[in-house]
């Protein structure tokens, strides 16, 4: 230990460090410190020549420890450790001394900054002799991938992975895949029929030899770590034998309970108690709603007419949920969104005033396969002569959701077009604050709508009222808003109001995130690893994000992100092993008293209790090196490799040694 040869490199970082710290003085001082063989200054240590200095000194001077005084380890520790490795030195024998973010950038006085730089450097010089040459841990990787959620994002990710030759398990909570996109009428800006472009992908997924689809299923438990996830899935009972069911839908016509509010039609239409959600459902299998089926909920359906109606005899009232456990190497979350609950905006009258509808409800009205056969009608069955579309419902609002929901301006324009297409004589008003038409073809789409004679009013609707003060308002809905471009107050009498509601995170997003071991942002959506550079990954290795579950986005962006998530998953599952950082906890079985305290405290569930030996053991690949067990143990048994007590104390002594 006393014979270590420490090389000290002090980086100027241009003027970032050298502009505040007297580098000459520090380097001179460093050369005289214990165990220091060589002390050098360089302008940019992270550059190739800078790194070469390290490699050369290791080879030629037999350097055994290295400290690079420069920026934050988050920036360049991997860079310098790789340089050390290339030079033939174990990378964990190199430490960085952060004299930029911790010193030159935050200290005003140059004299104080120089003094502080010395202390920071001294801490590392004292610590280095206690560093150990750690070896990275390699764990095997299961090549299969799980995709949770099968809307457009989940479908795309699954198909990409399956086409790449991977085995994919797709878990979808609803009876059919397709998500929200299956409900839409046309999509902006191309006005493609949503189902027409989605169903080929749905069909491909259903048929793909590499994909195992578990629809009407939910993930109940996730354990493990990257490359080795163990996922428990509950396959909910459909009360229909899916091996026998051909999807002929005869049962749905025979069922005695015909009027259950259809989820697919957002409550505007009805379905029977035994149902297929929509004609293009994948898998095309019937499902019985246990809350509405008379047999299952009350034990008495005299006719049970579904049973004789079913040719293959697939009805099975005794069916049970099935639990399966799957091993996968990576997981992609694509659980989508919920629409903002418009009842919360009481001033718009949703739920109180007939003919105030949400965006999803309008999609179903406009859709030819919807509850009104594609006729845009009011509750009384008549076509509206005027429609107001209100932007930013629940969005950009401190009282509800602060964020902009991104897609609403575009879908509002789409609605205006659809109304003009179905009902050319109907007046359409768009009440907006800003028109956000940012994507490819979006601004052109906006212009098109202007050309179609839609009335654009810049002003956020203050309220929707049914109280008339003028004859033309009697019996109609009145939208009150300030036309901010004209500077006048307007009362618009209309027949129908469409609320362009924002996209919200799913109400169980937090619980789901917790189940899978990652977190949520402040706005409730899943938290990405980095908002700019890693939007499709989470902080948890091996778990990826795709689609609106990470943040509201349109279909092109969801598809793109799904591709990114699939590629991210492939970076793990395409390799036979994955390297795990060795700076993890180690519990000496000789010293552990088996008190269990650390087991419960570990936030990554990385400590298990070996009942036979009666000691706690660290699951190496799951340990993230957070240090909780090290701090919690009353007997000071767990030690974090690379952060041993003696290393920490040496740092403290080094910092105080001046």
């Amino acid at each position: 230990m006393a014979d270590e040869k420490i090389a000290v490199y002090f980086c100027d970082c241009g003027t970032n460090i050298a502009g505040k710290v007297d580098v000459d003085e520090v380097v001179k001082w460093a050369a005289e410190q214990p165990n220091v063989t060589v002390a050098r200054e360089y302008k940019y240590m992270c550059s190739d020549p800078g790194q070469d200095l390290i490699k050369t000194d290791i080879k030629e001077l037999g350097v055994t420890r290295v400290v690079v005084a420069a920026c934050s380890p988050t920036m360049h520790e991997p860079t310098f450790r790789k340089a050390a490795a290339d030079g033939g030195l174990n990378p964990f024998l190199l430490q960085m001394a952060n004299v930029r973010e911790h010193c030159s950038w935050v200290t005003e006085d140059p004299v104080e900054a120089t003094e502080k730089a010395k202390r920071i450097l001294s801490a590392q010089i004292h610590r280095l002799p206690f560093n150990e040459a750690l070896q990275p841990i390699e764990v095997p990787v299961n090549p299969d991938v799980m995709v949770v959620g099968a809307g457009i994002a989940g479908i795309e990710a699954a198909l990409k992975l399956a086409d790449a030759g991977k085995k994919v398990f797709v878990v979808e909570r609803d009876p059919s895949i397709g998500g929200h996109m299956a409900m839409f009428d046309k999509t902006f800006p191309t006005l493609d029929c949503s189902a027409c472009i989605l169903t080929p992908k749905m069909s491909a997924l259903g048929k793909h030899p590499n994909i195992t689809l578990m629809a009407y299923s939910e993930v109940t438990e996730v354990s493990g770590y990257v490359g080795n996830f163990k996922v428990k899935v509950r396959k909910k009972a459909r009360y229909v034998d899916t091996d026998k069911c051909t999807g002929c839908a005869a049962c749905t016509e025979a069922c005695v309970v015909q009027k259950v509010r259809s989820e697919f039609d957002v409550g505007l239409g009805y379905r029977p108690a035994i149902y297929i959600p929509f004609p293009q459902a994948v898998p095309l299998k019937a499902t019985i709603d246990p809350a509405k089926c008379l047999t299952l909920s009350k034990g008495k359906c005299a006719k049970q007419s579904c049973v004789p109606a079913c040719g293959p005899g697939a009805i099975d009232f005794g069916q049970q949920d099935e639990q399966v456990e799957l091993d996968v190497g990576a997981i992609i979350m694509a659980t989508g969104f919920e629409l903002f609950d418009c009842k919360r905006e009481a001033r718009y009258g949703y739920g109180r005033l007939a003919n105030v509808i949400t965006s999803l409800e309008f999609e179903r009205l406009s859709n030819a396969s919807g509850p009104t056969g594609g006729h845009i009608v009011m509750k009384n069955g008549e076509a509206p002569k005027s429609v107001a579309i209100l932007h930013c419902v629940g969005s950009r609002d401190e009282n509800y959701q602060e964020f902009c929901s991104r897609v609403c301006c575009m879908y509002s324009l789409k609605f205006a077009h659809l109304i003009k297409e179905h009902l050319p004589e109907t007046e359409v008003y768009e009440l907006y604050i800003d028109m956000r038409a940012y994507g490819k073809g979006y601004e052109e789409f906006y212009k098109r709508l202007m050309d179609e004679g839609v009335h654009f009013i810049r002003g956020r609707a203050a309220e929707v009222s049914d109280v008339a003060i003028a004859p033309e308002e009697e019996g109609r809905l009145v939208v009150k808003a300030e036309d901010t471009l004209l500077g006048i107050m307007r009362r618009l009498p209309v027949d129908m109001v469409i609320l362009s509601a924002g996209l919200s995170p799913r109400r169980d997003a937090k619980e789901v995130a917790q189940t899978f071991g990652f977190g949520c942002s402040a706005n409730g959506f899943y938290l990405e690893r980095h908002p700019k550079l890693e939007p499709a990954s989470t902080m948890t290795d091996g778990v990826f994000l795709a689609g609106a579950c990470q943040y509201p986005k349109d279909i092109p962006d969801a598809v793109a992100q799904a591709g990114a998530a699939a590629a991210g998953a492939l970076t793990f599952v395409n390799n036979p092993t994955v390297k795990v950082e060795p700076t993890i906890s180690y519990i000496d079985p000789e010293k552990c008293s088996g008190c269990h305290i650390c087991v419960g405290l570990c936030p990554h569930a990385a400590i298990q209790f070996n009942a036979e030996k009666e000691v706690a053991e660290v699951i190496e690949a799951a340990c993230k090196g957070c240090g909780v067990c090290v701090a919690a143990c009353g007997s000071n048994v767990p030690q974090q490799r690379g952060y041993l007590d003696k290393q920490i104390f040496a740092e403290i002594e080094g910092a105080l040694a001046l």
Partner: protein, 292 residues
């Protein structure tokens, strides 16, 4: 169990809002709610004070809170929605702004008082519906107002800006209370729309238009009577109906009363004790609909 409160009557209760004070006391007597009038209370400041002076208006309002703190151990209940909002606002700003708190306390100390911010300010509607409960009220009803269609007019300041005890746009506590006495609260979507307040004096065409909307909606939905929670609302909607009629060619003659007057009548208090004779628009038809 007797509920006890410090009672802030408000300046209107000595003049145009007298009936509110009288009926509130009568109702609380019947409901076993004890009201202890705040000793030597002063004007809450009203919206006018805030328009001219900021710190002084907080100080004027805070003296009442300081007295309430001295009396101690009870929530402070106001009947007038404006008094309620202003006292609650002072309370809230005290909590949010320590500099303001310190400045006002300095002034209070000059007067030999102090205020720590611990007094809860309540509205009488909140107290009856939430502390006592509609069920308890229903049990004490002796005259069920079964055929009576009532427009519940909350006004602006009972539930705005904070909506502490009910929704700022579509509150329901008064509706529930009316149901508890057997009456039928009508569909009244303008229930929290402004009556114009002080504008009736300074710019009456604006206030008349607002009152017209309130009266028309009540009439269109078949109201026999409008009940209010604020003396200014009551005045505007009741006393100026003739002026509304003149301006709009209507013929409104809708009785308006404080909700405590109607509640008191349901609880068996006689009309004199509820100051019903003080109403400008006669209320005999309303009372006639209720079984004696």
């Amino acid at each position: 169990m007797t509920l006890t409160y410090s009672y802030f009557p408000g300046c209107s209760s000595e003049a145009t809002g007298k009936a509110y004070d009288i009926s509130t006391r009568a109702v609380c007597d019947k409901l076993d709610i004890e009201l202890k009038e705040l000793p030597d209370w002063n004007c809450c400041g009203s919206t006018s004070y805030f328009s001219i002076r900021e710190l002084e208006s907080f100080g004027v309002s805070a003296r009442n809170l300081a007295i309430a703190q001295e009396v101690g151990g009870m929530d402070l209940v106001a009947t007038c929605s404006a008094c309620y909002t202003i006292l609650a606002k002072t309370n809230r700003y005290f909590a949010e702004d320590p500099v303001l708190h310190e400045t006002i306390n300095e002034a209070l100390e000059a007067a030999g008082r102090t205020y720590d911010g611990n007094v809860n300010v309540r509205h009488i509607l909140d107290v009856i519906v939430n502390d006592l409960g509609c069920e308890t009220v229903a049990e004490k009803v002796t005259r069920r107002m079964t055929k009576l269609r009532v427009a519940p007019y909350y006004g602006c300041q009972a539930t705005r800006p904070k909506g502490t005890f009910d929704d700022p746009e579509f509150p329901t506590s008064l509706d529930h209370l009316l149901e508890a006495v057997g009456a039928e609260p009508i569909y009244y979507p303008v229930k929290t729309k402004c009556c114009g307040g002080m504008l009736m004096m300074t710019q009456e065409d604006a206030a008349l238009r607002l009152c017209h909307e309130l009266l028309k909606c009540a009439q269109d939905n078949g109201a026999d009577v409008i009940v209010t929670t604020c003396p200014l609302c009551e005045m505007n909607v009741e006393a100026y109906q003739k002026m509304v009629n003149k301006a709009y060619g209507t013929s409104f003659n809708i009785p308006v009363m404080y909700f405590t007057q109607l509640l008191g009548y349901a609880l068996g208090v006689d009309s004199k004790a509820l100051a019903l004779q003080m109403q400008i628009v006669p209320v005999e038809n309303v009372l006639a609909k209720v079984p004696a």
